[in-house]
Subunit: 568 residues, 2 copies
């Protein structure tokens, strides 16, 4: 929701003042909006965009060289008045006339229409270019609303004006851009006006509003939520169905986020949209993925295509430099960097053949890893639930991802390899694939344990196992810098290593020693429920996490217990 | 919440593929992340940024000339592995070494630290610059987390590398930038991981989490929600308290949004931040207001200051050109456009003196307008509640804004003016200030009514009132293009005008005719509860709006009824 405001009734004026402060080097405020102060090589037709607030960067963020010369700013979701349009139009006019351009909404059509009449009476040639890109809003093209396609039309108008064309030609360019632009949008959640408790509208949970506009205007229908791929397919299919007659195969594209549908989600959808367009023989020219026409904190996105001809492509790709949209071809050197042309990779290390004992131990390690993969798949959900109390709930998934990667990497290690080589390969893969803190710890610690084992040894004793787990623990403490009692996996690992070491020193067999030590670990893991979590854990809900054991300590004890079964 | 995904476990890979597709002209993917393909005039030290996903444009959106040479991309909120860092580092290295730079989190510190060791073993000089800008996260500067101040440090490193400095000098520049950077952030709401039903954490309703990090890490405390101005004051006070020793008065600034705290809100806060800094003698150099380090759909924002010296200012303002951050000084012509240097305003029209009757009628109009301002203030809430059913609930506020503006404008009209001049001034002001559809309609219609009145007339008859309201209605229909039965104010206006006209034609006095006609209007307004709303109204909840009268028709009838009292 919109959470930051002072007096909601002056939200528009207050935010505009802050905006102008930030861009005082290139824009100035006039009654009713903003105009660019950038000098022009020769006077240009003034392109003045506008509409209600709440859509940033539309409209004031699009003022600058190569795009709009001014923006008329209304209250939130409310058309600015004709007088405001006139003030901005007069200030933006460089003697070659003014084109007001805006989305097709009743208030905007009336107010900008009145403004052209008033300016005409003062001797300023003023026109309107109304954007009607929203294919969901009406069957008749001229009745459609303007949504994210505002941007393609504004961009073409700005570029045509920057070329020095006269007002008839700039107007024609804008009308042509609008005729070639189509958008379909969806909404996932409504937006909240400054000072309101409730959203302006709602989309039923688990659904998306197909064809919903940028203020919650009527859409086509509420449909059950789609995956990113399904949404991409819907967008492409419906927008292509509305292709202008005789249009070619080169298109400009915008995947626009409405406010709370964020960049990573948009890129995800874009990947599929792009593939689908390519499959159908389309070539996309300089796509824009991001927030160009928003709607406060509304959730949703839209796909816009503008079918290009030679003129439209030149205007679409032309340079522009505004607070929120910058395209400067010369800033991006052409060609490919020589040094990145060749992919360098670390030299693959030849794994030497191990002795018989080393190969036998390697077989045991392989068997244990396979079994642990089964164990962690079974327990992933349970570990996640424990972790969710004090952490981000991904412990089970992270461990599963790690063991799965280790298992796959071990399968690639040749049969002649010893246990150290196998452990090392598994550890490296675990760290690579699981990532994060636990991934690097588990991975590096396995590599450390591997470092204590000699693959050429004639035989192994219980003391070798003690040395390996000790190295594992030392690495864990060195890298992770946690202490026993911090509610981490060390709380079960350290008692285990202590008990194992003592039992082996006392003459117990490895199988017996490991078995009794892992029982200690399980008790210690359970006891972490009475510990406060270490400072720096993902979420500090300390009072809630009291009474819940630590997920890392639990999974460590589980794994140690399962290994004990293999030693019997 | 994060709504768009396919398989949540491959979200990172899927979104990265879409990102690379969009920027194939300047970036390429390598195992573990992305690198810039822009050729370098001479080889540069490679700056490689990185961390978990979910923070776009950090980190991949900041790769390009003048900024980062590569980005290592981890799973959502999870450090990438050391291996991934190595692949990206190798691909980005141009023979002058690699600087990994990232926020201070345990997993990142471990993985990037391991990567530098592995690259060193291969003969690549690799360093780390750890960002520790979050003043809320710890007292000891070296223990602090990295949040939006990531950006100032990355920017300085990229600019220093682009200047051709050697790795020691670039590293020193980055360390210096970090030493001079301070951030304080707040969160209003948690973020939801792809595929999760519940947010990762929550901020109690009506509160903000002071000092919360970018993944919901522990903050300082939950405090009751602040206004935009109060938040700005808190930010400035606390960040300035942490000013580096001996620092000057020139600062770079970032007001960063975390995802759902949108641009207009940020500009609002910025306006106050900027004023406070100015008051305290600070000069802000090229502030950035927007989304540079996000956290999925988290609500919140932060203020970052980097205290500048000559070097840092040069690096901060240097050109850069990446998918999400572009600064190209030459694209913004210096100087001020001549044509906007002089503010043009429409010529003020001299208002001629009216006759005695015209002045008397003007007095009645003034009295009516003052009284209507009282009426609409009383009824604003009620009209809003009616409007909220089918519209956006702002009808009462819009009408009040209009009448208030009209009253103020009329007070400026000289006493010698007639009723037409007064009505015209009031109408123009109403339209200007209320904006939107109803503002332009009420304003233009009053101007139309004024057009039927002759301020020089010796006397006025009831027929003059009929002509004025008829003109008001005609203008309304022409501009608004609605019909009776569309559930708009015409549903009460048209029956009124019909009844008034018939009664006056039948010889009734204006007072009687208006009184009976306004009773008709009230009945008709009530009856709009059985009408479906006109197509194109703000919100289509047609089934809900059945049973509720139209707010516009109700306010129209109210106003007509109050005018009747003045005619008695």
């Amino acid at each position: 929701m919109t959470t930051l405001y002072n007096d909601p009734s002056t939200f528009m004026e207050d935010q505009l003042a802050g905006f102008l402060d930030a861009y005082a080097d290139r824009l100035r405020g006039v009654e009713g909006g903003v105009v660019s102060t950038a000098p022009q090589d020769s006077p240009e037709v003034a392109v003045v965009v506008g509409g209600g607030s709440g859509h940033y960067p539309a409209f004031s963020g699009l003022v600058g060289p190569g795009l709009a010369h001014g923006a008329v700013v209304g209250n939130i979701f409310t058309s600015p008045s004709a007088s405001r349009a006139c003030t901005v139009g007069r200030a933006a006019d460089a003697g070659r006339g003014v084109i007001f351009t805006f989305g097709n909404y009743a208030g905007d059509v009336m107010n900008f229409g009145l403004a052209t009449q008033r300016l005409a009476a003062e001797g300023i040639d003023a026109r309107v270019v109304v954007v009607t890109d929203d294919i969901a809003s009406a069957d008749e093209p001229e009745k459609r609303r303007g949504i994210a396609g505002d941007f393609t039309v504004f961009k073409v108008l700005g570029a045509a004006a920057a070329e020095g064309l006269d007002i008839d030609a700039v107007e024609a360019a804008g009308q042509h851009a609008n005729a070639m632009t189509r958008t379909l949008g969806v909404a996932f959640s409504g937006c909240t006006m400054p000072g309101s408790e409730e959203p302006l509208f709602e989309v039923p949970e688990g659904h998306l509003g197909l064809g919903l506009g940028i203020h919650g205007e009527p859409g086509i229908e509420d449909v059950p939520m789609l995956s990113a791929d399904q949404l991409a397919e819907l967008f492409v299919e419906r927008v292509l169905t509305e292709a202008p007659e005789g249009a070619g195969r080169r298109v400009a594209a915008i995947l626009n986020g409405l406010g709370t549908t964020k960049y990573e989600e948009l890129f995800l959808v874009w990947g599929r949209v792009s593939a689908l367009l390519r499959d159908r023989g389309y070539e996309v020219v300089q796509p824009e993925i991001g927030e160009l026409v928003t709607s406060l904190d509304m959730g949703g996105c839209s796909l816009t295509l503008m079918w290009l001809d030679e003129d439209l492509e030149r205007w679409w790709t032309a340079d522009a430099y505004t607070p929120a949209f910058k395209r400067v071809a010369s800033a991006l050197p052409v060609g490919t960097a020589d040094h990145t042309a060749v992919e360098t990779t670390s030299a693959a290390t030849e794994i030497p053949a191990a002795g018989e004992a080393g190969r036998a131990l390697a077989g045991q390690v392989r068997a244990v890893v396979s079994d642990l993969a089964v164990l962690l798949e079974e327990k992933s959900g349970e570990l996640g639930r424990i972790d969710a109390v004090a952490g981000d709930g991904d412990h089970g998934r992270g461990m599963l991802r790690g063991i799965t990667a280790a298992q796959a990497a071990i399968a690639e290690v040749p049969d002649h390899a010893g246990a150290a080589a196998v452990l090392r390969a598994g550890g490296r893969a675990w760290a690579d694939d699981a990532g994060g803190t636990s991934g690097v710890l588990w991975g590096a610690d396995q590599e450390a344990a591997a470092g204590t084992l000699d693959d050429a040894a004639a035989s192994y004793a219980a003391e070798d196992a003690v040395a390996a787990v000790q190295a594992f623990q030392d690495s864990m403490q060195q890298l992770g810098r946690a202490q026993v009692g911090d509610k981490t996996l060390l709380d079960s690992l350290v008692p285990f290593v202590d008990a194992l070491s003592a039992a082996v020193a006392g003459g117990a067999s490895l199988a017996d020693a490991w078995s009794s030590a892992s029982a200690e670990a399980a008790k210690a893991a359970e006891a972490t429920q009475d510990l406060r979590p270490a400072v720096g854990r993902a979420r500090p809900l300390a009072e809630k996490s009291l009474g819940t054991p630590d997920a890392g300590a639990v999974s460590m004890a589980m794994i140690l217990g399962r290994i004990a079964e293999h030693l019997r």
